[in-house]
Amino acid sequence: MQDNKHDDEVDKSAHAGVRTPLDHTKTVNKILLLVAGMFCFAFALVPLYDVFCKVTGINGKTNTEAAVYTATDIDETRTITVDFITRTNSGMPWEFTAQTRKIDVHPGQMNEVAFYVRNPTNRDIIAQAVPSVSPGTAALYLNKTECFCFQHQPLKAGEEALMPMVFYVDPQLPEDITFFTLQYTLYDITRTVDKDTVDVAMN
């Protein structure tokens, strides 16, 4: 109540630079718009970040969909060494090893490697493998035509399996890269996959 009185008084004095409460509302609305915009912007950062990483390849993520092999010339003058590293996330009990630890490839040439997994526990588990390439820029030139990481990998209690991965290195790979590492991390996603999917996967 007191404040209204202030405003009335201020109105009467009618000086330049002193404004009415209506102006306050306008200013407040503009600022609130900015607040809402920034809140949405933070969520927009999530897809923007993915797009940005895909374009620049900065976080070493490879494509999540199979590449189509377009017959290119095999560049036999270059040899690229690819290292495979496997690890399981904490709390993930599977055994997970690369059958091929290291492979020398020519750009453009198709290669097949396999990974061994075993579920030593007495419960059914669904896994998701997440790849990561280092140096990150090499991820843009690693094309996988077939990979276990594109799907969920279910294993019943005590089961074991060989998981194939077919890839070729794009001949456009920058000259300074002669060596890169591909790491797979296995996550236990049984709890996050809904029940029906689990049943389908296990049968």
Partner: protein, 546 residues
């Protein structure tokens, strides 16, 4: 910048001296009787009352957060685990950080803004007084929620104030929900406070108070308010994503579900870096008020100060990556963030230069606020220089997550932000109470704080360079001697603040000598033209600034 109170608005009244004019403005004839007791404080919409509430709240939180720092330093007094469990130690470092950032430094600046901005621009109150009440009174509940989470099963937040995923998602206790809600409330409070500051400054300046005549404290707060508006919603979004990742099965930061934990760091530091400037820009404003007063000169380079503040604010949005050099970022990005970060030292250097140039050939006197201001300039510059060292990518790989980082941000936040708040309190306290504070106690407070704070934080540089990691309750034997000194400095600094508490209580009881409306010999500006103590209502008729 010199402003005079115009008498023509009072019309029929005779006013020869400024004091008379000011007392015209405070004529209480048309006001209802103010409520008293607890309801005065609960229901108040008066900017001075709310400013006082904010300042007391900040001080109480400073002591609570300080008590947690004492627990940390007691545990680190010698190597090995002796006083607390590692999980509780982690809760202490986390909640200490959260309380000092969101509970002490930010509310203290908001309190100063509430008290001083209307008085400095000749406005009768803040633009939105009821929202002002609301933005203060939700704050105690935020911290009640945060502190109560410490007593929950599994303990409170233990993932550091930066709540990196997956520490705050996969590996945190259930009390994380309380942490998230309390951060939401703090954010809403800050946003409301910032809206109030912007609207007040935009719409309620006295006639003739153009933007380039505004005192620098007002300018720096205006820019700070915009930073708050821009980044507090981002923090709110970040904690919301943590909440849904932890409790509702989303995968924003979970690689197994297609998310990315590094994305958390990008979002957090996009908020976090402007946030640290939110905690230092008002400090720059305070120092720019105090140094000219006690040098009896105008501030050197007023316009460059304004532009430098704006430049720092803009740069704060493009340097967040320097917190993440070791996350495997490609070298091009590291170089970009390194140079952008180093660029910040240019406008900051302009500020330090201007303060020194203001003092140059001034008639300096060393009253308590000036002593704190000079300590600020020297010690903040030390913190700035260690920041420059951390900006260098190859060096940062060595310094990252060590006590060197702890030393850096405590120099800029304790001897920077908090010293400036203390300087501001000593500078304006006589205006608030009408009495000079106890100068002997103030000198004890200053010298004890100055010595102990350096014993506390300076050796952290050495143990950090030698490789002692931060956020660890135990350490290798070779760090034992330095840590003993650091802890002794910590206890001494903590105790020194009790002198400050005694001084403030004494001042609130209105003991001491009465002061004039100008208080300090060289003080200029509208706030020094109203009587001391500042009456409950000021500038109900706006002054004219020439």
């Amino acid at each position: 910048m010199v402003s005079t109170t115009d008498t023509t608005h009072s019309g029929d009244r005779d006013a020869d001296t400024q004091d008379h004019v000011a007392s015209d403005h405070i004529d209480d004839h048309h006001h209802h009787e103010a409520p008293y007791g607890i309801s005065r404080w609960l229901l108040t919409t008066n900017h001075k009352d709310i400013g006082t509430l904010y300042l007391w709240f900040a001080f109480i939180m400073f002591l609570v957060g300080g008590a947690m720092a004492m627990v940390i330093r007691a545990e680190l007094f010698q190597p090995g685990l002796q006083i607390v469990e590692p999980n509780f130690f982690n809760q202490m470092t986390t909640v200490h950080g959260l309380i000092m950032v969101f509970g002490a430094v930010m509310p203290a600046f908001t309190g100063l803004a509430n008290w001083m901005i209307p008085m400095m621009i000749g406005a009768p109150d803040m633009a939105l007084p009821r929202m002002n009440n609301w933005s203060f009174w939700i704050l105690p509940f935020a911290f009640l929620i945060l502190l109560s989470s410490l007593f929950m099963e599994g303990g409170g937040p233990a993932f550091g104030w930066t709540f990196y995923a997956p520490l705050s998602t996969t590996y945190s206790s259930d009390s994380t929900a309380l942490f998230v809600f309390s951060v939401h409330i703090m954010g809403i409070s800050s946003i409301m406070g910032a809206i109030n500051v912007i609207v007040t400054i935009f719409n309620m300046r006295a006639p003739g108070m153009t933007y380039m005549k505004m005192p620098l404290f007002v300018w720096t707060w205006l820019i700070t308010a915009f930073l708050l508006i821009a980044v507090m919603p981002v923090l709110a979004a970040a904690v919301t994503m943590v909440l849904t990742d932890k409790f509702f099965g989303t995968s924003f930061f979970d690689a197994a579900g297609g998310g990315d934990p590094v994305l958390f760091q990008h979002i957090f530091w996009f908020f976090g870096h402007p946030e640290v400037y939110i905690m230092i820009l008002p400090a720059f404003g305070i120092i720019s008020q105090i140094v000219p007063t006690f040098s009896r000169k105008k501030l050197f380079g007023y316009a460059s100060m304004v532009y430098a503040t704006g430049a720092i604010a803009l740069l704060s949005f493009i340097v967040w990556g320097h917190h993440m050099f070791t996350t495997g970022m490609p070298v091009e990005y590291e170089i970009f963030f390194m140079f952008a970060t180093m660029l910040v030292s240019v406008p900051t250097g302009v500020k330090v230069f201007n303060w020194v140039a203001t003092m140059w050939r001034g008639s300096i006197s060393f009253e308590i606020p000036m002593m704190f201001a000079i300590a600020f300039i020297v010690l903040f510059t030390i913190g700035g220089l260690s920041g420059l060292m951390l900006a260098i990518v190859p060096a940062d790989f060595q310094y990252h997550d060590t006590y060197f980082v702890v030393a850096h941000f405590h120099y800029v936040l304790v001897t920077g932000a908090i010293f400036s708040i203390m300087a501001a309190v000593y500078y304006w306290l006589p205006k608030w109470t009408g009495k000079m504070f106890d100068i002997t106690l103030a000198k004890w407070h200053f010298w004890c704080s100055l010595v102990s704070v350096n014993v506390l934080f300076f050796p952290m540089h050495f143990v950090g360079l030698a490789g002692m990691p931060r956020r660890i309750p135990d350490y290798a034997l070779q760090f034992a001697d330095f840590n003993k000194w650091i802890s002794v400095g910590g206890f001494a600094f903590g105790l020194s603040q009790l002198i400050f508490l005694a001084l403030i209580i004494k001042a609130c009881r209105h003991q001491g000598e009465s002061v004039s409306s100008q208080v300090w010999d060289g003080a200029e500006g509208l706030e020094w033209e109203i009587p001391s103590p500042a009456p409950y209502h000021t500038f109900e008729t706006p002054p004219i600034v020439r």
